[in-house]
Amino acid sequence: MTSADILSLLPLLVVATTGVVVMLAAAFYRNHRLSLILTLAGLLTAFISLPFVSPLTPRQVTSLVLVDGYALFYMGLIFAAGFIVALLTYGYLEQWDGNPEELYVLLLLATLGAAVLVGSSHFASFFLGLETLSVALYAMIAYNRSLRRGIEAGIKYLVLAGVTAAFLLFGMALVYAETGTLAFSGVIAVAGGGPSLQLMVGLGMLIVGVGFKLGVVPFHMWTPDVYQGAPAPVTGLLASMSKGAMFALLLRYFTPVMALERQGLVWVFTAVAVLSMLGGNILALTQDNVKRILAYSSIAHLGYLLVAFLASGPAGQLAVAFYLVAYFATTLSAFGVVTVLSTPDDEAESLRAYQGLYYRRPWLAIIFTIALLSLAGIPPTAGLVGKIFIAAAGVQASLWLLLIVLVLASVIGVFYYMRIVITMFRRPEADVVQPSMVRLPRAASVVLGALSVILVGLGIYPVPVMRIIERTVARLV
């Protein structure tokens, strides 16, 4: 490895170093604020280093990691998500008497895992990045050890992720047995000559593994439980970073494969997309628990993203990238609101807790409303622009069935998003127990406000982000 190789890995190195530094700092001097500042500084540095690394790209560092514009763009998104979650976590854990410092270490390691995942070009880095992200998440989900539902959510997620990892590994092994190489490019070279049954089974198992991680139907079983039981900021991380990183990898690995294999894989993904879009939205209609509603909603959104994935080509790439930006901002904003209203031992989950929120905390209600509007795809938010991009890509690729389902599902979605909004604006009934007024941390307020501004801003004027996407993500088939 040359020095240029190491330099191009700079963002990853920074995050890894920060993780170790935060751990050592906590070992010598336990201080919540110090951990937060170190974490934020590290993530900020990593983010800033991205444009500096850019001139060195595209660069294949050993056969494991490919640092190119695509990877750098998604790394930026991941670092931003980590930054936001760290800030939200600070306020959340402030009054708690457990040890908060470890969460920041785990957060940084999870961020690293996700960043490796989007830059990987080889099964080894795919697997290791994924597992680093997962292992960190197990501990983060169950972080409040004395909370029964946290432990339960942690165990469920661990079993699920463990089985997923095994499926992924077996699939990788089958593909390896067939192609003789673990690099992503290998499968394309061989599959060109007509795919064998063994290769197909291997790819199938890979899809199963990826499907579990994305939480799409029919692999969505425990997702709502895990979302409900995990601490709100961690759920935000799960919904955004974990799914987003995996989706970026899906796009990178499977797009060339799909181009070669055509029908079989296309049908599988189409079915998954349709089921997720409809299933996610329909199941959310019956829920009373805000976290579970958001969980089902994220299942549906991954379905929308799959439509863009199936569209492929530059239009599809643009749609995915833009929609992910919007999705990250929206998800973090929504879970941010939930976080701010919660404490580790008492989460603001049930819909009733949000009744009349507008009259107690007008700005929070407005922020949440904007996030929900974006999720529903109502102007003038980024969510709508994202959906338009997806629709445009879909039209270009003539994916008529998917487009019909997309529109249908979005309409269904409006119902339960609006239900939350209406609940917030309705005057509270006399017998509804009002949750105590939690002191609103300044940092969290600023972050949430900024996210709302971004959501509306992107909805009105998406051009700058589009330019960035075109410059970095433009590649692949």
Binding site: R149, I155, A165, L169, F170, L174, D225
Partner: protein, 102 residues
Amino acid sequence: MAEVPTQYGIILAAILFSLGVAGILLRRNIFFVLLFVEVMLNAAGLAFVVAGARWGQADGQVMFIFVLATAAAEVAIGLGLLLRLHHQFKTLNVDEASDLRG
């Protein structure tokens, strides 16, 4: 060493993998579920070694070593969670230890 057909190796891995899946579906005790996750990971690792031997490359064994590291990390946290679960719920049964609506 005499030649061992690759396909038989893969079949062995597949059988062990399936047994792991069956075990998870059959047992309701988290302890056994974790054990079978390990069985599945081991089977997948076996598949890698077989594949690596087929191509005469060290890569299969390298992946196995990484799988080993992953299994170790996962077991550490898994068993830690198991102990916490037992402490909180007083049972290791998946169906009983369920506050969250399934």
